[in-house]
C-alpha cells in the first residue's frame, strides 16, 4: 500500500516536473545571451572627461592658459606665442638628440621610451643585410645605397624584400638624404600675415616649390638598383612608379608601367593611384585626360585590383584639372566607389575638390548636396586635402551670401572631431574671417554681436578690414552707440594704428547727432583716439592727422559740449598744417556763443583769418552781430575785415 502510494506519488512528481520544465522553457527565452566584455581604450576615461569640457568664449586657447601674462590679445601675439611654445619644444628635442650622452639617466620608473634620446647613428658597423635594414629604417639614403653596393661587390646577395624597401626609401626621398623632419607648427612661418583671406594659395605655392626642388634624375640610384634586379616584382615597380610620380617624371612613370605589363606582372593599387594622379600631366585636352583615367580604372578592373579610398581621391584630384568634365564626372565616380562599399563616409573632401572647379552657381548646389549628406556626421581626416573642406565650404557660402548654409557648415564643425579638419591656426583664422564677414553682411546686428562676443577674441582675431565691416554693419542697423565699445576692442586687437579704420570710426561718430549720453561716450572715445595720435609707438608717430579726422574729432567733442578740449584740438590744425572747414568753424562759433565766451569767439575769427578762409568775413559779421564786444575787440575785428578784404 505504502509502496504503491509512494510509486504513484513519484510518478506524479515526475510528470508535473516535466510539465513545469516544458512551460518554463516556453515562457523563457531559449538562449541567454551573455553580453560581451567591453574593452575600453586607454584614453576612454579621459575622452569622456574631455567631452564634458566646452569652449569658453571668454578664455583664450588652452595652450596659453598656463601663463596669464602670455595670453595673446592680437593675432600677431597669438602667432608669436604659439610658435615660440612649439619652437621651444623643438629646440629641446634637438639638443636631446644631438647630445644623447648627456641624457642617458632614466628617471621614469616604468621606462618611457619617448623621453629618451633617439639614436641617430647607425649601431651596426659591418656590412650585412641587418646593417642595411637599419640604415633603411633610419632613412639614411646615401649610407644605405653605399652599403648596398658594398654588399653586392662582396658577392653577398640581398633579399628581394630588403631591396624593395631600399627602393622605397630611395624613391620616397628622391635620392636625397631627407632634411631634418619638420614638426607640424613650423610650417606656419612661411605663411606670414594672417590679415586677410586669399593667401592660402601663397602657402600652398611655397610648399609646392619645396617639393619641386628635387626632381627625378635620369639614371639615379633607384633606376640603377632597379636595373640590377634580376626579377623585379610588383612592389619594385610600384616603388619606382610612385617615386617618379612624386618627383614629376610623369611620362617616365607611364613607360615604366608599360614595362611592368610587358613583364606580365600586375600592378598594385598604389601604382594605379600614382598613375591616376599623373594622368592629367601627360595629356593636353580635358577629354583626353579623362579618357586616360577611365582607361586606367578599366585596367584596374581587368587586373582585379580593388580600388581604395585613395583611388577615389586621386581620381577626384585629377578631375579637378579636367575643367567642366570634372563636375559632371565627379558624382558617377563617387557612386561607383560607393557601390564598391569603399568607406566614403568622408565625402566632404572629394566633393569640395570638384566644386572648386565649378562655377559659383553649381558650387552652391554641390555644397547643399554635400551638406545634406554629411550634416551631423563626424569624420576623420583621410587625406591631407581634407583640411580644406571647411574653408572651401565657407568660401562658397560667402561668395553666394548663403547664411543658412553657413550656419549648417558651422554646426557641422562642432560635431565630434570635425574641428580637427579645420586645420592649423592660419586656416582657422581664414575660416572665421569668412564666417564673420558673412555675418556682418547678412545678419541683423543683435545676432551678429552675439557671434562677435562668442568668437572674438577667444578663437578669432579679426583683421582691420573685418572690423570695418563690423562698423558698417553697425551703421546700417543704426547701432552707432556701440562704437565706444568696439573701439575698445579695436584697441585691444592692435588695430588702433590703422589710419583708415580710425578715420572711419571718427566719421561715423561725427556724422549724426545722438542723445546726450551717447555723445558723452563718443567724446570719451574721441579723446582716447586723440591719445593714440599723440603718443605714437616708441617715438614713432603711427597716425598722422588729416583735416578730415581733425574735423570729425572736433565736431564729436563739440556735440558733447566739450569746448575746452575742442579748443585745444583746434590748435592742432596749425601745428599739423591742416585747414579746418567752414562748417566746423561755424559750428564752433555756435558752441562758443552758447557759452558766451567773447574772447574765444574773437580768437576763432583770428584763427580763421590766419588760414585765409573765404568764410572769414561772414564769421566776422556773425561775431559782430551776435556777441557783445568791447571796443578793443571791435577794432580788432574791423582790422581783420580790412585785411581779408585786401588779401582778396
Amino acid at each position: 500500500m505504502a509502496s504503491s502510494c509512494s510509486q504513484a506519488l513519484r510518478h506524479h512528481v515526475c510528470k508535473s516536473s516535466r510539465i513545469l520544465r516544458i512551460h518554463l522553457q516556453k515562457s523563457w527565452p531559449k538562449e541567454i545571451v551573455i553580453p560581451k566584455k567591453k574593452t575600453w581604450s586607454k584614453e576612454a576615461v579621459l575622452q569622456a572627461l574631455a567631452s564634458t569640457v566646452k569652449r569658453d568664449p571668454t578664455a583664450s586657447d588652452s595652450r596659453f592658459q598656463d601663463d596669464p601674462y602670455l595670453t595673446p590679445k592680437t593675432s600677431s601675439e597669438f602667432k608669436l606665442f604659439s610658435l615660440s611654445q612649439e619652437s621651444g619644444r623643438n629646440a629641446a628635442k634637438y639638443f636631446i638628440n644631438t647630445y644623447p650622452k648627456y641624457f642617458q639617466k632614466d628617471y621614469a620608473q616604468p621606462h618611457i621610451p619617448c623621453l629618451m634620446p633617439e639614436t641617430l647613428e647607425a649601431q651596426i658597423e659591418e656590412a650585412s643585410e641587418a646593417a642595411l635594414i637599419e640604415r633603411i629604417r633610419m632613412r639614411k639614403v646615401k649610407a644605405a645605397v653605399d652599403l648596398y653596393d658594398q654588399l653586392l661587390q662582396a658577392g653577398t646577395s640581398v633579399s628581394l624584400d630588403v631591396t624593395n624597401q631600399l627602393l622605397d626609401l630611395i624613391c620616397f626621398c628622391g635620392d636625397h638624404d631627407p632634411t631634418q623632419e619638420n614638426v607640424p607648427e613650423q610650417r606656419n612661418e612661411e605663411t606670414e600675415d594672417v590679415q586677410d583671406e586669399p593667401q592660402a594659395k601663397k602657402g600652398r605655392a611655397s610648399k609646392a616649390s619645396g617639393l619641386l626642388k628635387a626632381t627625378w634624375k635620369e639614371n639615379n640610384n633607384a633606376g640603377r638598383i632597379f636595373a640590377l634586379l634580376s626579377e623585379p616584382n610588383t612592389h619594385s615597380y610600384s616603388a619606382l612608379i610612385r617615386g617618379m610620380v612624386k618627383y614629376g617624371a610623369y611620362s617616365k612613370a607611364f613607360s615604366t608601367y608599360t614595362d611592368l605589363l610587358n613583364n606580365r606582372l600586375k600592378a598594385d593599387v598604389h601604382t594605379f593611384n600614382a598613375l591616376i594622379i599623373a594622368a592629367p600631366e601627360v595629356k593636353e585636352k580635358y577629354n583626353e585626360k579623362w579618357e586616360l583615367i577611365v582607361d586606367l580604372l578599366k585596367q584596374m578592373a581587368e587586373q582585379k585590383v580593388k580600388p581604395n579610398l585613395l583611388t577615389l581621391n586621386a581620381v577626384l584630384k585629377a578631375l579637378r584639372r579636367c575643367g567642366t568634365l570634372g563636375k559632371s564626372q565627379a558624382f558617377p565616380v563617387i557612386s561607383e566607389m560607393k557601390a564598391l562599399s569603399i568607406e566614403t563616409h568622408n565625402h566632404a573632401f572629394p566633393i569640395m575638390l570638384c566644386s572648386a572647379g565649378a562655377p559659383i552657381q553649381g558650387q552652391t548646389d554641390i555644397l547643399q548636396e554635400v551638406m545634406n549628406e554629411v550634416s551631423g556626421k563626424s569624420f576623420t581626416a583621410q587625406d591631407p586635402d581634407d583640411a580644406q573642406f571647411f574653408i572651401t565650404a565657407m568660401r562658397i557660402c560667402l561668395d553666394t551670401k548663403d547664411m543658412e548654409q553657413a550656419y549648417r557648415v558651422h554646426e557641422l564643425l562642432g560635431v565630434g572631431e570635425n574641428w580637427r579638419l579645420l586645420g592649423n591656426d592660419f586656416q582657422q583664422s581664414i575660416y572665421y574671417a569668412r564666417f564673420f564677414s558673412l555675418l556682418c553682411m547678412m545678419e541683423n546686428i543683435d545676432v551678429m554681436l552675439k557671434w562677435y562676443r562668442d568668437l572674438v577674441p577667444s578663437v578669432y582675431y579679426p583683421s582691420s578690414n573685418v572690423m570695418r565691416d563690423l562698423l558698417q554693419a553697425l551703421d546700417t542697423d543704426n547701432r552707432l552707440d556701440l562704437i565706444p565699445q568696439i573701439w575698445k576692442d579695436i584697441k585691444q586687437l592692435g588695430h588702433a594704428n590703422r589710419q583708415n579704420l580710425v578715420e572711419e570710426l571718427l566719421t561715423l561718430m561725427a556724422r549724426e547727432k545722438h542723445n546726450q549720453e551717447v555723445q558723452e561716450s563718443f567724446a570719451e572715445c574721441a579723446l582716447d583716439i586723440k591719445k593714440i595720435y599723440d603718443t605714437g609707438d616708441r617715438g614713432k608717430v603711427l597716425l598722422s592727422w588729416t583735416a578730415g579726422s581733425l574735423i570729425d574729432l572736433i565736431s564729436v567733442l563739440l556735440a558733447a559740449h566739450r569746448r575746452q578740449d575742442a579748443w585745444e584740438m583746434l590748435k592742432l590744425f596749425k601745428t599739423h598744417n591742416r585747414v579746418p572747414s567752414e562748417e566746423l568753424l561755424n559750428k564752433f562759433l555756435t558752441c562758443v556763443k552758447e557759452a558766451g565766451e567773447v574772447n574765444q569767439a574773437v580768437e576763432l575769427v583770428q584763427i580763421s583769418a590766419g588760414f585765409c578762409l573765404p568764410e572769414t568775413p561772414k564769421l566776422i559779421q556773425r561775431v559782430q552781430q551776435e556777441f557783445e564786444l568791447t571796443e578793443q575787440q571791435r577794432n580788432m575785428l574791423s582790422d581783420l575785415e580790412i585785411q581779408t578784404f585786401n588779401s582778396d
Binding site: L20, L46, A50, A301, P332, V333, E336, L422
Partner: protein, 428 residues
C-alpha cells in the same frame, strides 16, 4: 505542490492574455480618436477644393476632387462610428465652434485681401497668373490650418458644425460663382480692377486693353507653366507666411520656385527646411545617381604580401596629421595626447589597472603561502608560530607581488639560519 505551482503559472499567463485582450479595444478606441478629426478635415476643406478647381481648371485639382468624392463614404462611416461611440460633450462642441469661427474668419480676411492684392499685382502686369498663385497659396494656407487644428477639434457631431460651416459654405459658393464666370470672359471685378489700375497710367485706354489682353492670354497658358513663372509675386507670398505641407494635394509649390537673383551672384533665400526636404525628396541625390560601371561589386582583393606600413603609408599619415589640427583644446585632451605618447600613467579603466606583471598570477599564489614554509623552518615552536603570522600578514597584503612575498619569506629563512646558534642556545 507542483500542481499548485502549475495552476499559479497558468493563472498568471491567462491573466496576461486577458489584460492584452482588454487593452485591444482601448487601442482601437484611440485609433478612432486620432482618426476621426483627420477624416473630418477633408469635409470642411472640400468646398475649398471645388472652388480652387473652378479657379484653376487644372487636372490636378479635378483628380483631387475625385479623391475627395472617394473619401466621402469613408468619412461618413467614420462619423457614424464616432456617433455610435456617443462621446459627445458640449465642451468639445464649443471648442470646435471656436475653431471653426477662427477658420472662417481667416478665410474671410483672405478673401477680403484678395481684390487689393490682385490690384497690386495687376499693376505689375503679371496679371491673372498672380491671382491664381495667390489663390493657390490661400488654399494651402487653409489646409495647413486644418492640419494644425485637429488637436483642438476632436470628434464632432454633424449638427454642431452645421452652422459655422454654413457661413464658410456660402462664402465659397460665392467664390465658386466668381470662378465659374472666368471660363469664357474675365471676371467683372477683375476688369474693374484693371480699369482702375489703367487709370493711374498715362495712356489709359491703351493700357487697359493691354492689361485685359494680357489677362486673356494668361487664361490660355497651361497651369503648370504659370506656376513656374511665379516670380514677381514673391514678396506678396512671402508676406503671407505660407506653411507648406508636402502632401499629395499641394503639388504646386509656388514659393519653392521663387529665388531672387538680383546681382550676378544671386541670393538664394527662401529656402526653409521644408523646402530642403522637398528638394531631397523630389530629385534623387546625386550621391545615388548613376555610376561608372567599371568595377564589379564583389571583387576581392588580390592578396598582396603586406609587410606592415610602408614608408609611403607613414608619409601619408604624417601629411594628414600635419594638415589637421592636432593641438589639444583642453587639459584632458592634452592628457590624452600624453597617454598616447606613453608619457602619462594610464587612467584606470577597470580594477586591473596597473596589474600588468601580476595579470597571469592566480590569486591562490597570493593567499596560500604555507607551501613556502617547507623543511627549512622548524615544524613547531615559536619560530614556526612567528612565520605563520608572517604569511598570514603577507596573504592579506595586496601591495606586494608574489615574487616579493617569496623574497620576504626567504629573507626570514636566511635570518633564522644565521641565528641558528642563538636559537639553539635559547632552546627554542
Amino acid at each position: 505542490m507542483y500542481r499548485r505551482l502549475l495552476i499559479n503559472i497558468y493563472q498568471v499567463r491567462n491573466g496576461l492574455i486577458h489584460t492584452q485582450n482588454t487593452r485591444l479595444p482601448s487601442t482601437k478606441c484611440k485609433e478612432r480618436e486620432s482618426f476621426a478629426p483627420v477624416i473630418w478635415a477633408p469635409c470642411t476643406a472640400r468646398p475649398l477644393g471645388t472652388s480652387s478647381i473652378s479657379f484653376n481648371e487644372n487636372k490636378e485639382s479635378s483628380t483631387s476632387l475625385s479623391e475627395d468624392k472617394e473619401k466621402r463614404p469613408e468619412e461618413n462611416e467614420a462619423k457614424e462610428e464616432v456617433n455610435t461611440d456617443g462621446q459627445k460633450s458640449t465642451e468639445m462642441n464649443e471648442c470646435t465652434e471656436i475653431s471653426n469661427a477662427t477658420l472662417a474668419s481667416q478665410l474671410e480676411t483672405e478673401t477680403v485681401d484678395k481684390p487689393e492684392d490682385s490690384k497690386q499685382v495687376e499693376k505689375t502686369k503679371s496679371g491673372k497668373e498672380s491671382l491664381l498663385e495667390l489663390l493657390g497659396a490661400m488654399k494651402v494656407e487653409v489646409t495647413t490650418v486644418r492640419k494644425i487644428r485637429p488637436s483642438k477639434t476632436p470628434r464632432m457631431s454633424e449638427r454642431a458644425d452645421q452652422e459655422p460651416m454654413e457661413s464658410a459654405h456660402s462664402m465659397f459658393q460665392h467664390a465658386t460663382a466668381e470662378g465659374s464666370q472666368q471660363h469664357g470672359t474675365l471676371n467683372p471685378a477683375l476688369v474693374a480692377a484693371v480699369s482702375a489700375a489703367a487709370s493711374t497710367l498715362p495712356n489709359r485706354h491703351q493700357a487697359e486693353s493691354e492689361l485685359l489682353k494680357q489677362l486673356r492670354k494668361h487664361e490660355a497658358v497651361p497651369d503648370t507653366q504659370r506656376r513656374a513663372e511665379g516670380q514677381n509675386i514673391g514678396h506678396i507670398i512671402a508676406d503671407m507666411k505660407v506653411g507648406r505641407r508636402t502632401n499629395g494635394r499641394s503639388n504646386a509649390r509656388p514659393t519653392s520656385q521663387i529665388r531672387f537673383d538680383d546681382d550676378g551672384k544671386g541670393y538664394t533665400q527662401d529656402r526653409g527646411i521644408t523646402g530642403e526636404l522637398d528638394a531631397v525628396r523630389r530629385r534623387k541625390s546625386p550621391f545615388t545617381s548613376k555610376r561608372l560601371n567599371i568595377f564589379t561589386a564583389g571583387m576581392e582583393q588580390d592578396t598582396l604580401s603586406d609587410l606592415g606600413p610602408t614608408l609611403w603609408d607613414i608619409d601619408l599619415a604624417n601629411q594628414i596629421i600635419q594638415a589637421t589640427n592636432q593641438t589639444p583644446r583642453n587639459g584632458f585632451e592634452e592628457m590624452i595626447q600624453w597617454t598616447k605618447d606613453g608619457k602619462l600613467w594610464q587612467y584606470p579603466i577597470n580594477n586591473e589597472a596597473g596589474l600588468e606583471e601580476e595579470a597571469s598570477v592566480p590569486f591562490h599564489e597570493h593567499v596560500f603561502l604555507e607551501k613556502h614554509l617547507d623543511e627549512s623552518f622548524p615544524r613547531q615552536g615559536p619560530v614556526r608560530h612567528f612565520m605563520e603570522l608572517v604569511i598570514t600578514g603577507l596573504a592579506k597584503n595586496h601591495q606586494l607581488t608574489v615574487q616579493q612575498k617569496k623574497e620576504h619569506i626567504d629573507w626570514f629563512r636566511d635570518y633564522f639560519r644565521q641565528k641558528d646558534d642563538v636559537l639553539k642556545e635559547a632552546e627554542a
